[in-house]
Symmetry: C2
Subunit: 111 residues, 2 copies
Amino acid sequence: MKKDLNQAAIVLKLLGDKTRLTMMKILDFHDCCVCEFVEIFKMSQPSISQHLRKLRDVGLVKEERRGQWIFYSMNKENHYYEFIQPLLEQLPSQNYQIERLEKDGKRIVCC
Amino acid sequence: MKKDLNQAAIVLKLLGDKTRLTMMKILDFHDCCVCEFVEIFKMSQPSISQHLRKLRDVGLVKEERRGQWIFYSMNKENHYYEFIQPLLEQLPSQNYQIERLEKDGKRIVCC
DNA sequence: TGAATATATAAGTAAATTATTATAAACTTA
DNA sequence: TAAGTTTATAATAATTTACTTATATATTCA
């Protein structure tokens, strides 16, 4: 189905940032909580939270509290998911980031 | 083929602007010169030139002088064309812009 | 309940972005 | 060659962006 050009530009602007683009690639396969992203990107926690908020505000990702943590996940029901999926597919896998977390004992396992 | 994540973010940032995204959708089917874009977007000529320069600097579009005019066209040989094409396909046709130019006698026919 | 952990929000700042006006350069044509 | 047309570039102003630090809120657990 055709996408609105204004909305498409808003979505692409959000993806036009290395941090957010990497987040989206990761979230396409793995749910993650804020502190995991802090560990992955070596960035301040507020900065990570603000990036996730932008993605959430347009509905690209969902948030869900699990105990102490708030997990973010790809919102695959969003109208723009099919729009961006062909892009994400062409990006290199970021699984190594998750594997590194696991190796370092930093991966959060919950619920 | 997989795309570099940094480069992909740069390309997406460029597309994350309504004017440039519309330009790219138009150029996917029609070559255009600067003054046609000025007419389409009702924007100053330097502003149009600057948008086109950004697209050209990363190789997404090509420029070619034809007599008095400089025509821009999609660079379909560019590595990132296949990256963005699935996006462009999902955007609504902008043919009406070209048709309007023709109807108003503003379409440039050259060489 | 109180301390520790995880996250969000607010405020401030430096850098990047997108427009504008003014001007220069290149080409066409009378 | 001179005037008109088209485009690029330079300088600048307004806005947006992406970070930072400080602080508030929510949850867990001893």
